[in-house]
Structures are given as C-alpha cells and as structure tokens.
C-alpha cells in the first residue's frame, strides 16, 4: 500500500475554540508535502492532532495511518507506528543525556534492545553531518540548548528514530541561514521513496533546497488550495489574502 496518512474531514477543538474545521489531507510514500498558512490558521494544531495530543480534541472526522484509524490511539503508540513530530518548542528534560534518551526511545520504537556500539556510531555519524558538537550528545536533553541546537537535535532524533512519516512543525523558525541549511540537509538525508515528510512553515527559505511535491494552503482550519511548488512563489508575492474568507 502506498498511502501513509489519510485525514478525512477533521474537526479539532482546543478548549472551547474550534481550530480545524473539516480538514482533509492525503500523504503517500515518497512524497514531500508543505503546509503554509497565516498565523492562527491551525498548522500546529494539525500536527498535534495527528499525534493525538490530549489537549487537542477531535470532534469529527478521521485520521488514518497505513489504513488504520489512529484517532484515539495514545501518542506513544502512534509514534511506534512510525509517526514523528519535530517540535517548535522542544521540552527540556534534565537527568538524561541526548544519547541515552535516543537509545531508550529507539528501543521503545523498535521494541527490541539497541546494540550500543553500533548505535553510538550511527548517532555520531548523523551528528557530524548536522554539525552537532559530539559533546552535545552527552548533555541533558535540550537543557540549556540554544534555539538552533534544539532544532538540530530534533532533526537528529528524526534521523535516528527513522519514522515513516516526519512532521516538521516550524522547525526552521528562528534559525539563521546556516542552521536552516543544516535542517534542510537533514531532511534530505532522511527522505527516501518509502517515507514521507510534512513540512509546516510560513517561511520560504527552507523550501528552496527541498524537492516539494505538494503545497497546501491552510486558512481558517481548512485546506483552501492544494498545488505544486509553484504555489510557494505565488504566496511569496501575494501572501494569503486571496484565500482568507474571514478576518482572523
């Protein structure tokens, strides 16, 4: 089966506020999707809803992954099915090093013990590619990391955990040009014909070096338009104005 993610007519509330209002989206293996949209359109809500963050309540519609309904599956089980999310604001977890955390998480995702030497080599290799100081692997997870270090660490986790679908929620925000390039490079290393990427952004820079297949314009909780990479140029020139039905 080629289809990975299938979202059908999804409605999501945060507190009392309805954020997603009938969103549909399909992602197949081998594809790179981009979601763009103005602030408050529901981009991060979509990412959180896919991972079933309990703060985001689905009131209607379905999320399927590889043909299975994952609406109410717990976040850890969704992760173990192969869905990964890179966070806008990764949490700081004291008391465990990046390397030990990755090893623990990898063991959980693959449901088998990790061979430490092999694993360490793999992590070191990716870290080098991402210009990550090897000392960072020994530091506590995200504790005292700069914004750039946190984002690179998210990409490192993506590479190591090797999911089927990687959702990158504004991974490029707040990064300088070089860091954005590193993040793009990481995505390039990860991507192959059997997996897929969903990039959430309102920044064009990161898209320059990616082979984007589909671009979706998310406005007011719905996909207002889907097209190819040419949409990126359009948005760059004209913004989202013509897609807005109501003022935010």
């Amino acid at each position: 089966m080629n289809n990975l993610l299938n979202i059908d007519n999804l409605y999501v509330k945060v507190g009392e506020k309805e954020i997603l209002k009938g969103l549909s989206l399909q992602i197949n293996k081998g594809e790179t999707h981009v979601i763009m949209g103005p602030n408050g359109a529901g981009k991060s809500t979509l990412a959180n809803a896919i991972l079933n963050n309990p703060e985001y309540k689905k009131t209607d519609g379905n999320v399927e992954f590889e043909g299975e309904n994952i609406n109410n599956l717990s976040t850890d089980k969704i992760a173990r099915k192969g869905v990964f999310m890179s966070f806008q604001l990764p949490q700081e977890i004291p008391g465990i090093s990046v390397l030990n955390f990755l090893k623990f998480a990898k063991g959980k995702i693959e449901n088998k013990p990790v061979k430490i030497f092999e694993f360490r080599d793999t992590v070191n290799k990716y870290a080098e590619e991402l210009n990550i100081n090897p000392k960072m692997l020994e530091r506590n997870l995200n504790v005292g990391f700069s914004g750039g270090e946190k984002k690179k660490n998210e990409i490192l986790q993506m590479l190591v955990l090797n999911p089927k679908l990687a959702i990158l929620d504004e991974t490029d925000s707040g990064l300088d040009v070089d860091a954005v390039k590193t993040v793009s490079k990481g995505i390039g290393m990860y991507k192959n014909n059997d997996n897929a990427v969903l990039v959430i952004t309102h920044n064009m820079r990161i898209l320059e070096s990616l082979n984007v297949d589909y671009v979706h314009i998310l406005v007011d909780g719905k996909i207002a338009k889907t097209g190819g990479p040419e949409l990126i140029k359009e948005i760059e020139k004209e913004g989202f104005k013509k897609y807005k039905t109501t003022e935010p």
Binding site: L51, T75, D76, A79, F87, Q91, G95, K108, N140, L161
Partner: protein, 471 residues
Amino acid sequence: MSKTKIDEINRNVYDIKNADNYDFKMEKGLNKQIVEEISKQKNEPEWMKKIRLNALETYNNLELPTWGPDLSDLNMDDLATYVRPKSKLNENWEDVPEEIRQTFDRLGIPEAEKKSLSGVGAQYDSEVVYHSIKEDLLKQGVIYTDMETAVRDYPEIVKEHFMKCVPVTDHKFVALHAAVWSGGSFVYVPKNVKVDIPLQSYFRLNSPESGQFEHTLIIVDEGASLHFIEGCSAPKYNKVNLHAGCVELYVKDNAYLRYSTIENWSKNMMNLNTKKAIVGKNAQMDWVTGSFGSRVSMLYPLSILNGEGAKTEYTGITFAGKDQNLDTGFKVIHNAEHTSSVINSKSISKDGGACTYRALVRVNKNAKKSKCSVSCESLMLDDISRSDTIPVNDIRTNDVEFSHEAKIGKISDKEIFYLMSRGLSEEDSRAMIVRGFAYPISKELPVEYAVEMNNLINLELERKHRINFND
C-alpha cells in the same frame, strides 16, 4: 490518557523482618530505673551515667514541639528503648550470627565494603554487631569504631565532644536521645590525613515496638578530609517505632567532611533525628541527604560556620508517599566573615503525601562578606499531595549576598506529550521526568546509592518493573 497507576510500594529487601530474637530487651517505658539499667547493661563509667540521668530530667521538663507534624501517636510507655541483639561486636562477617548477617547481605553492605568502602559499621537494633577499618587508615591514626568502645577507650575525646555540638536542652528528643543512646559510630581523622575512600555505617532496626538511638560523633582534625556515609532502614510493623539518633560533626580548620545519608525507614517509623556540624576556619562541610521512608520525619541538619571562610553545601531530596509527613530542611548559621552556604533542596510528593521544607538561614552581625544561596523545588505528582515551604531568613548584617529561590510545580502535560511522541509510554515518561528532577541530588551520591535511589524512585512510581534509562 490513562493516569499512572501507583500501588502501595513493594519495598522488597527492606521489608524482610527477622524474628525478634534478642539477647536482652528492656521493658517498655522510660524512667530513671530504665536509664540506670541501660547504663549498667553497658557497663559504663559513672560520668556517662550522669549525662544520661541529667538528660532524662531535661526530657521530663521539655514539651513536645508545638509546630510540625502530629506526634500524638508516639507514647514512650509503648516503646523499648534498648534491645541488645544476640551478637557481640565482630571484626569478621563470618562471626556475625547468620540471621543478622543475612540481613546485611541482602542490604548489600559486605559487598559494598569489598568494592568501595574503607571501613564499615553495622548496627542491628541497639548495638553495633560489626566494625571494620582498612589497615592503612589504622596506620595513619584514623579511629573508626562503635560509640561504646569510644567511651571506654577514648574517654577524654568523648567527654570533650559528646552532646557539646548538640546541647541536651535543644529539644525534647535530643534529651531523650542523650538519656537512652546506644550504638552509633565514632570517627577521628588526625591532622592532614585524607581518607579518600568513604566510611559507612548502616543502622538497621529489626525489633518491633522499640526505638533506635544511635550516636554518631565525627571529628575531622585540621587539614584532614573524610566522606562518611550513613544508611538506615527497618521492616514495617503495625505499631510505631522511633528513631531519635544524634549526629555531631566537628570539622576543624581547613578540614573537609562530606556526610551522605540514604534514609529508607518503613512507614511506621517516627524519625526524629538531630544532626549538627561545627565548621572551622576555611573548612567545608557538605551534606547529601535522601529521605524516602518513615511515617513522620522531623530532620533539619545544621551547619554552624564558626571560622572565617567556612563553607557548607546542602543537597537534599525528600520523597513522601501515602500517609507520609516528611518535615525536613536545612539550617545554617553564618558566624564569621567570608562564610558561604549553598542550599539545594528538592521534594516529591504523591498519593496524599506531605513534604515540608522548613529552613533557617541566619547571618550574624559579625558574618560580613558572607554569601548564601538557597534553592528549593517541589514536585507534586497529583492533586491530593501537599508541599509547603517555610523558610526563615534572619539576616543581621547588610554586607551579605543572599538569594532565595522557591519553585513548586507539577509534571507538565507538554513534557509528557514530548516524551510520548518519541515512543515512551506515559509511565516511562513520568518516571523519566521524576528521575530527571532528582538527578542533581542522585549525581552527588556514591554510585551504589545513586542506583539505590533511582530504584527507590522506580519502586515508588511503578511496582511491576524497573526502568533503567541509562543502561
């Protein structure tokens, strides 16, 4: 998302009780005859007997504290103050009676002794049953023995220091301690001798309806250094047991002492312990404390920074579960110029447990140019648990750097979601966060104890299986 299920914990090895086989068990209660009988059983010199009897009078004249946890369940008429085990003091584990030896085997004491200690004391009920010290320390003049031997062999040192750091009149349970004390360790480290490998004393209370009143007296002479580790545990009984130990520490000029404690009493224990240190010029006193067990704890170690440039650091963690009221904290008195203190306290409460951080920082007028920084953090794992912070800051000079930071929090849903998005179950995520919270303390403990503390946290959080994030 389902809530983490937390059952009554399985304390496994700590809870294995032996039959109450004693050589001598004092009748319950507390009066002059009983105190005299303890002294007689111990074949003590007259001066010690006098200290005991005076202390008993002080005890009778003092009131119970009017603050802190409820102590009304404690009735001295129900407790035996002296229980002599069926064992003399031994220098070889082989000579310790099997049942007692097995207890310490299970607690891992002889094994730790081989691997990472340079001396061990093991107390069972009221008496020390085993004591050892490495040959090279003996040659350097280090003394490490039980208190009874010290009273007999080093009366002058004991007279000069016993109940001098902690005055008998301090509070009711100190007076009680001085009247009925038994067992404990005596350490003397001569000038400029560095004891690189720790000494450890372990206190095990097996006998039901009894009290343990060990006395620890440590003198680290000028320029010397020592790391001393204290461990304690008891199996659970239905009736109240009492622990009212006393620790007196003398850290002379330019000396260093680190005093680490892992306290894992059972939940019928009233732990009313007193610990103080007098710290000399340019000397340093570090405390590392983990309090896990007991029904009620009232424990506030004190450093008195008496010499210019004296330093102290306190690193402590308290973990209160169901039916536990742990009232702990740290006290420091800055009593000379250029003294400094760093206080780092953490507490975790769950299942209706209560943690109180009760502390005192006093900077005397003469303690100019001193520094003090206090940080206390609490983590509550549910909505029915309690956490209170009651700091008293008594600063009597303007020429001082003082900072105080207090945080009370819960595990955030954001952290849980982040970890679960990486494939960790909710239980694993919680345990990882709690262990991370405790990490600044556990990293200060000797390795075996850090492992023990992590296991205790796992035991507290999850009964069925242990999680080892770092293996």
